[in-house]
Symmetry: C2
DNA sequence: GGAATTTCCATGCATCCGCATCGAAAGGCG
DNA sequence: CGCCTTTCGATGCGGATGCATGGAAATTCC
């Protein structure tokens, strides 16, 4: 295994820094207006887009750790945004579904979240560069050794 | 403020995902061989490269939150990797310096860390693409509105 | 010089995360 | 069927994080 080239190290530090800056900005923006953090949005969106589903499916879709998702779901259920109903054909699990409030919350979060994304990324990179960036990041967004 | 374009959203999701995948891989690699997490490396490297310095300087250099750095330093001091000596010309603060063990720890971490970076990034993106990626990420790694 | 402000660092508290593990159900296999 | 392995989801526990705040020293301003 070769040691990293200079371009690798530069890309590495910038990748981590850029994601941190952007992520923090979004989380902070949502928080200052009293809305839940971005990961709640991801769950709400996934349930809205792909319909009611089991935690395992959500876990694969979002790429979160099992225990992290378990507790995230618990908090969101406590907040009345999702429901956990027993799964008919697998008594181990349950089916997650959005509530009306969950649907409303996603709708309420979107404008704020969208503007934060625009500020953190859209407004700072030209259109053609964003396309190139997305293309270059594609392989890195895949799980390692898969 | 315009809402995000499609390329913005794609770049956004991939940026966060890529950084998470890469960061997790590195942290996990270090942990499985019993070494401290990546942020310890960053502190050790900064102290080695730029010499003894105050927490504030380190904070600016690394872009961490003040309280996070304060507690990180405390853990590293407890582990014997850095020392905190009273600052001669500012009685509020102190000067951070590497110990011999801190120097040794950075040296011990580097091969493992480097290989993890190579696996997570270097081996998955071509040389010319890494250069392009670093260039495209440069503006995003800067603090927002600064 | 003295008061108000700002900078520097630490910390109480609640929350969240990571790891390991657990209980329960499903699936595989003789 | 009875046993063993795998999958699903929750959780105890220690530790890390974020937020707010605190205290102390430095700086600014009059």
């Amino acid at each position: 295994m070769a040691l990293p080239a200079a371009t690798t190290l530069l890309a590495w530090t910038r990748l981590l820094r850029a994601a941190d800056v952007a992520g923090q900005h979004c989380a902070a923006t949502l928080r200052t207006v009293g809305l839940p953090p971005p990961e709640w949005y991801d769950v709400l969106l996934a349930l809205e887009r792909s319909g009611a589903q089991r935690p395992r499916d959500l876990q694969t879709r979002l790429g979160t750790e099992q225990y992290a998702l378990s507790r995230l779901i618990e908090r969101m259920a406590k907040a009345g945004l999702v429901t956990r109903t027993p799964c008919p054909d697998d008594a181990r699990g349950h089916t997650l579904a959005l509530t009306i409030q969950g649907l409303a919350m996603r709708a309420a979060m979107w404008p704020i979240y969208a503007e934060a994304i625009e500020t953190a990324l859209g407004a700072r990179v030209a259109e053609e560069d964003r396309a190139a960036l997305a293309r270059l990041l594609a392989p890195l967004a895949e799980p390692i050794s898969g």
